[in-house]
Symmetry: C5
Subunit: 380 residues, 5 copies
C-alpha cells in the first residue's frame, strides 16, 4: 500500500515536481529537456477533400513544403526528449519563445493563448490504465495556424487520437471538407471525451467502496477513499482550466476559428461541463463515504464495548457472590459466621441465586436490545 | 440493503455510465442506439383554436403534411430504441447532427441551444416511484420550430404531460389560442412542477429519519441518510442546469418565443428556483441529521461505558474485600493472622462493610447523575 | 420532544408540502383553495391628507368606488379560504392570472414582479410565538397600483401592521401626505423589522444553550441545537429572497415608486441586510456549539474511562494478591508451600503490601492529574 | 467562566438585542434613547491653516456660527443619552430623519449614504481592553458637510482619535491645509488602524492556545477556542461592511471628497483589506486548533484505554490462575484432584508460572509500543 | 516541538505583529524604522544594449546622475534599518509619502498602485530554508519609473534575483535590449518562480506524512499536519493578492509598461495561477490527511478495545468458575453441597470444562475476525 501511495505521490509530484520549474531568474523561453523523456517521433498527415498523405518524418524541416499549401497539414510530435529537434521545430513553425517554453516544460496548466497568426491550446489528456484503477495523464499542446495544426504530446505511447486519424483516412464525416480549425476541434473533442472512460472507472470504484463500507470496512477501505479523493482532485485540476480555455476559445473570437467550428466547440464545452459535474458529484460521494466509514468505525467500537459490558456486568457480580462464600470466616466460632455454608441446601440455593442474577441481567440486556447484533442490517 | 444500494448505484451509473459516451475520437453527431431501449412510439397532436387532431403514427414521414400549416403540431416520440426511425426523424425535422446526437445519446446535461430556426431544450423529468421513496428520471428533449414542437422522451411509461394533453383536447385555458412556444412553456412548466411531488417524498423521509435518529438510531438509519444525500445530489444536478437553461431562454431573446410566453416562463423560472431552494434546504437538513446521528452514537457509547464503569467500580472493590477474607493465613499461628475470621460478629460486620461500600458508591454515582438514563429525552 | 419535532416538521412541510403545488400539467393561473384556510376578511382604509375612512367590507366589489379616486386606498384581505371571493377580487383589481396564482397558492418564494400598471411584491412575515421559542410565518402579497395597495395575508390572526394603521389614523409622520408607494414601503419596513424580535429570541436561546453545553450537556441540548439550526435555515430562506426583491425594487425603477420613497426603501434594504447578517452569525454560532457539544461528550467519556481505569488499575492487582493467598497449597507438605500463611506477621505484612500498592498507584494517578475532575472549569 | 460567557453574550446581544430595533411599524426616523446611555458631551474644533479653536460646548446651537465659515469645523458628540440634545443637533445640522435614526439607534451596520449635500458614514470602532483579551466596540457616525464634520460616538470613554486631535493642534502633516474631507479620512484611517492592536491580541492568544493544546488541553481550552471564534466572527462582521463602505466612497465619486483625499482613502482601503485578511487567517487557524484539540482528546482517551487494557490483560489471567488453586477439590478423594497442592515445589512453580505469564505479556505490550507514553512528543 | 511552534508563531506574528502598524491616528506617510532591521545596502546596475555598470553605493544621492539617462538604472536597496537613508531615498526618487510608507512599514499586502509617472508593486518573495522544511518570506517593493527601477528588499541575505543580474551582465536573452519595464517583469517572474521550490518541499513533506499516517501515526504527525496547513495558509495569503496585482498590471494599461512586456506578464500570471492551484491542492490534501489521521486514531482505539474485550470475555467467566469451586460450602453437612469437590474426576472435569469454555470463546472471536490485527494492511 505504502509503495502504491508513494508511486501515486510521485506521479502527482512529477506533475508539480523537480523538472517542471526552471531555476527562478532564468531566461524566459528557456526550454528544459528531461534526459529520461522519450525521443520525439514526428508524424505528418496532409489532406484535402480528395487526397491524404500520412507518413513519419525524421527532421522537422521536412514539414516545410506542406505548411503553405491550402491542404490541411497535421504535424504530430510525440515525445519531448531532444532539445535539438524541439528547437528546430520552433524555427520551422516560427513559434514565440514563450510558446515553445509552454509546450516543452511540462506540465503547464491548460490554457488558450492567442498569438495573432497562431493559437496555442495547452490541453491535458487522460487515458485509463488497463488493469488497476487509475489513469495516465499527459500534456498535449495544440498550435493552430492558418493551414496547419502542430500537436506535441509528452510520449508516443498513450493517445486517444486514433479515431480522428481513421476518420481522416477513410473520409468519414465532414472532417476532410473542413480546415485545420475543425481538426483542432476534433482532437479537443477526443481529449474531453477521453475523460468519460476514466470517470466510469471511478464510478465503479465508488460503488465497490460503498459495498465495502457497509459489509466489511477495514483500514484499507479508508486508504482507498483517500486515494480516490486524491485522484479526483487531480482530475478536477485537469478539467477545470480546460473548460475555461474552451469557453474563451468560443467567445474570444480568434479569426483562425470559423463560425461553424464554433458551434461544434459549444458541444465540446457542454461535455467538459458534464465532466466537471461528474467529478464534483464523485467528490461529494467520496466525502460522504468518509462520513459513513467513520460512523461505521464508531458503531463497531460500540458493539465491542457492549460485549465487554454485558460480559463484565453479568460475571463480575456473580464472581463477587462466589467470592463471598469463598471467605474463611470460622463457622464454628459463631452461628452468624456464614451459616449458609452448613445449610443442607446451601450450595444449590447459592447456585440458584447466581443463576437468577445472571439470567436476570441477561434478560435486562436482551430487553434493552443490547444482545441484538446491531451491525446486521436488514438487507432488502 | 447492499443490493438496493447497488441498484441505486447502477441507476446513478446508468446516468453517467457505459452507454452514455461514445468512444473518444468518433465522429461528432454519431448516434448510439441502446439495444435494450424501448422502440419509439410516435404521437401527433395538431391543433388550432378550433380543431384538434390526435393520433398515433408509425413513420416519422407522416408528420410532414402537418409541419408547415399554421396550426400547432406536437410530435411526441417516446422511446429511443430504433436507429432507423430516429435518423428519419432527423431528416423530417431537418435537425443539425449535433441536435440529434444530444437527443439520442442520453443522458445529456439540461441546456438550451439556439439553432436559428430551431430551439433545442434538453430537460430532465422526474416521476416519483409509487411504493418506495425514489424517482424515475428521464430525459425529455424539446425542439421548438415555427409551427411545431418535437419532444423526445426516453421511454413511453412515465410521463407528466397528461395534464397538458387534456388541456389541449378540452380547450381549457389559453393553450389553444397560443402558438408552439406556449406549448413548449406548458410542457416545461409540467416538468418543473413534477419535481414537487418528488421533493415532498423526501421531506417526509427526512421527517421520519428525524424521529428515527432520536428514538432508535441504527446503522440502517445511517445508510438511509447517506442514500438521501446521494439522491438529493442527483436531484440537484438535474434542476440546477435546468434553471439556468430557463433563465437563458428568458433573457437571450430567441425570435421563436413571444413576449407573452416570456412572462409565463418567468413564473416557471421562479418555480425552478423554489425547487433548487428546497433541494438545498433538504441537503442541509440531511447533513445536520448526520451530525445528530454521530453524536447519538457517541452518547450511546457513553451510556454503555457508564454502565460498565458503575458495575465495575462497585463490584471490583467488593470482590477485593471478599478476596481478602478468602486468604488462608493461618489464624492459629498468630493472633494477628486474620483474627476477624474468628470474631463472633465477623461475617455480619464484613457483609455490613461491603453493603456500606456498595451503597455508598451507588449513592455517589446517583449523585453525579450517572444512574439516570441520559438517553431518555423529556418529550413534550 | 418527538411530537414537538414532528409538529415543527409539519410546519416546515406545510411550507413546502401537500397543498403548495398543483398537479404537474395543470393550467397556469389555477388557484387552489385549502378547505381548512380561514375565510377572507376584508378591511378597507382610504385616506388622504385630511380624511381617513376605515371599515370592514364583505364583498370585494365594495372597493371599486375608492380605487380610482386620488386618495390612497388600502385593501387588506386576511385569509385565503374562499375561491369565490378571491376570484372576484382578481376581477375587481384586474389581476393577471399568474398574480392571482402567486397570491393564493401559498407559499410562494418572496419576489417582486412588474406588471406595467401593477407591482407585485410577495413577502414573508414572521411573528414570534409568545411562550415557546419559535415563530409564525405567513405570506403577505402586496399589489401596488397607482392609487391603491392591495395586501393579502394568509390568516387574520398574526399581523405586524398595527403600527402603520395607527400612524394612518392619527396622521403621525408623513404617511398621510404620501402616496400608495409610501404605504407599501411602510408595510415592507414593518415586515422586515418584524424579524428582529424573532432573532432576539434566537440570540437568547443560543446564549442559554451555551451555558447548557458548558454546565450540563444532555441529548436534549443536541436536539435543541439541531432545531435552532433548522429554524435559522428557514429564516434564512425567508429573508434572503426578500432582500433581493427589495434591492430590485430600488434599482429597477418602476414608475409606481417615487424617488423619495426609493430613499426610504434603501433604509429598509439596509435592515434586511442586517437581518441576513444576524441570521448568518447565529448559524455560525450554532454550528460552533455543535462542535463544543461533541467535544464535551468526548470529554465526559474520557472522564468515565478514567474512573474505570483508576478503579480497575488499583483493585485488580490487589485482588490478585488476595487471590494468591487464597490458594490452597498444602503448607504441610513442603516448607516452600506458602510459608507466609504460617508467619506470625503474615497477614499484617500482606495488608501492608496491599496498602502500599494501592496508595502507590493512587499517588501515581494523582501525580498524572487523573484524579482532578477535568470537567470542573475554573469559573472566573 | 459561565458568567464571563454570559457577559460576552450580552455584549453580542447588546449589539443586536433589546434596544436596537424599534417596534415593527413605528414611524421611520423615530429615535430611541436608551435611558442608561451616557449624556452627550460635545466638543468643537475649528481650524484653518493658521488658527485652531478647541473647546467643549453645551448646546448644539453654539456650533452654528462656525459651520458656514471657510474654516473646517469638527463637532464631536460623545454619548447618546439625551433625546432633546440629539434632536436639536438634527435641526442645527439639518439632518434627514433617516440619518438621525441611523446615528442614534445603534448599532447600525457600517455603510455609506450620500444625501446630496451631506455624506453619512456609519463606522464601527474597536478599542482593545487593557487587561483581558477582548475589545470595546462602539459605533461612530461621521456626517461630512461642505466645511464641517459631525461625528457621533456612543460614549465618551474609549476613543482612538487622540492622535488626529494632536495633529490638528500641533499642525503636523498636511491636515491643517486640507478640508473637512481630509479630516474624515484621517478619522476613518484611525478607526481602521485601531483594528490592528486588537488583532495582535488575538494573534497572541491563538499562539498561547497552540501551546496549551499541545501541552495540556483542558475543557477550558475548548471554551477559549470557541470564544475566540465567536469574537473573530464579531470582528469580521464589523470590518467587512466597513471595507465595502470605504470602497464605495472611493468609487461613487461624491463631490464632497476631493481627488487627493481619494488617493489617501485608497490606502485606507488597503488597510481594511489587510484587516479582513488577518481576521480570516485567524479564523482558519482557530478552526484548525479545534481539530487538533479534538484529536488530542481522542489520543488521551486512547492512552487511558491502553493503560486499562495493559493492567487488565496482565492481572486478569493471573487472578484466574490464583483462582484455580483456590478451588477446594478434595485432594484426598482422588490423586487427580489438584495434586499440585501437595507437591513439594507446588507453590514456587505456581509463582514462577505466574511471573512468566505476567512478564511475557508485559514484554509483548512493550514490543508493540504500548508502554511508551505516546503523549510525550519529542521536542526539538 | 513547542518551541518550534512558538518560533513559527512568531514568524507569522512578525508578519502581522508588533511593528507593522503605527499607532492609530498617526500621520499617514509616517515611516517606522525597526531598530533591529539590517542597515540598507544599495546596489546600482545601469545598463544599455552595449554597457553595464554595477557597483555598490553608499548614499542614495549617488544614483541621481543615472536616473535621467536613457539607459536602464536598477537601484536595489537591501535592508530597512536607517530612517535617514530611506527618507533621502524618497527625496531622490520623488516618492509619494504613501509609497514610502508602504515600502518601509512592512509587511504590506501585495498590490499594485499607479502614481502617474511611477508604478508601485508590492511583492512578497519566498526563499526555501535549506535544512528544515519552511521558508523565509520577505517583502520586495518595486517602483518603476520611465528609465529606472527601484527595488527595496527587507534584508540583504535571501534573494532570488541572482539569475537576472547574471543575465544583465552576460547579456543573455533580450533583457539588455529592453527597458525598465522588462526588468520589472524579469524580477516579478523570478519572485513567482521562487514559489515552486518552496511548494516542492511541501509536496515532499505531504508525501512523507502520508506514509507516516499509514505506518505509525503519532501525535507528532498531527502537529506536522497542523503546521503544514498553517504554512500553506501563509503561502496562500502571499500568492493570492500577488496574482491579482499582476492581473491588474496586465489589464489596467499603465503607460510605463509596453505591449510586448505585457505578453510576458501574461506568462508570469499563468505561473501565479499555477502556484495558487498547487497551494489549494496541497491544502485539500492536508485536510484529507487530517481525516485519515483521525480515523487511524479511532481504528487504533478499536483494536485496544478488542484486545481488552477478548481478554476479559475469556478470563472473567473462567475466573467465575474457579470462584465457584473456591466456595467453602460444607460438603459434610449435605450431599448437595458441592459434591463435585469430592468426585474422583472432579478437578480434571473442571479443568476440561474451563478449557472448553475458553477455547470456545476464542474460536468465536476468531470466527468474527477479532483476532486478526486489523491494522496490518495488505501492502501491494
Amino acid at each position: 500500500m505504502a509503495r502504491k501511495l508513494r508511486r501515486l505521490a510521485r506521479l502527482v509530484t512529477k506533475q508539480h515536481g523537480d523538472e517542471f520549474y526552471h531555476h527562478p531568474g532564468t531566461l524566459p523561453g528557456t526550454i528544459i529537456v528531461d534526459a529520461d523523456a522519450p525521443p520525439p517521433v514526428i508524424f505528418l498527415i496532409d489532406y484535402n477533400q480528395t487526397n491524404v498523405i500520412r507518413h513519419q518524418i525524421t527532421a522537422p524541416e521536412e514539414c516545410v513544403p506542406y505548411l503553405d499549401t491550402a491542404s490541411v497539414s497535421w504535424v504530430d510530435v510525440q515525445g519531448l526528449g531532444s532539445q535539438d529537434i524541439l528547437q528546430r521545430l520552433g524555427q520551422v513553425f516560427d513559434l514565440h519563445p514563450l510558446v515553445l517554453e509552454d509546450v516543452v516544460n511540462v506540465p503547464e496548466r491548460p490554457k488558450v493563448e492567442d498569438y495573432e497568426d497562431q493559437l496555442l491550446f495547452i490541453a491535458r489528456m487522460v487515458v485509463p490504465k488497463e488493469r488497476t484503477c487509475g489513469f495516465y495523464s499527459e500534456q498535449v499542446s495544440l498550435i493552430l495556424g492558418k493551414h496547419y495544426l502542430l500537436t506535441v504530446q509528452e510520449e508516443p505511447e498513450h493517445d486517444c487520437f486514433e479515431g480522428v486519424r481513421s476518420r481522416i483516412e477513410k473520409g468519414k464525416g465532414i472532417i476532410r471538407k473542413q480546415g485545420a480549425d475543425y481538426l483542432a476541434y476534433a482532437l479537443l473533442d477526443a481529449i474531453i471525451d477521453g475523460f468519460f472512460p476514466v470517470l466510469e472507472l471511478y464510478g465503479d470504484r465508488i460503488e465497490e467502496l460503498e459495498e465495502e463500507v457497509i459489509a466489511n470496512p477495514t483500514r484499507q477501505t479508508l486508504q482507498n477513499i483517500y486515494q480516490i479523493r486524491r485522484e479526483l482532485l487531480q482530475l478536477r485540476r485537469s478539467i477545470w482550466p480546460q473548460r475555461d480555455a474552451i469557453n474563451s476559445l468560443i467567445r474570444d473570437g480568434s479569426e483562425l476559428i470559423s463560425e461553424e467550428v464554433r458551434i461544434y466547440l459549444r458541444d465540446c464545452y457542454d461535455h467538459a461541463v458534464q465532466v466537471m459535474d461528474m467529478v464534483e458529484t464523485y467528490r461529494e460521494l467520496a466525502s460522504g463515504l468518509m462520513d459513513v466509514y467513520l460512523s461505521a468505525v464508531s458503531n463497531r467500537m460500540n458493539e465491542v464495548m457492549k460485549l465487554l459490558t454485558v460480559v463484565s456486568a453479568i460475571f463480575i457480580p456473580l464472581t463477587f457472590v462466589a467470592g463471598i462464600y469463598g471467605m474463611n470466616f470460622n463457622t464454628e466460632k459463631s452461628p452468624y459466621n456464614m451459616p449458609e455454608l452448613n445449610w443442607y441446601w446451601g450450595y444449590p440455593i447459592c447456585l440458584a441465586v447466581m443463576a437468577v442474577i445472571g439470567f436476570g441481567l441477561l434478560f435486562l440486556f436482551w430487553q434493552r436490545g443490547w444482545l441484538e447484533n446491531s451491525s446486521t442490517i436488514k438487507r432488502d
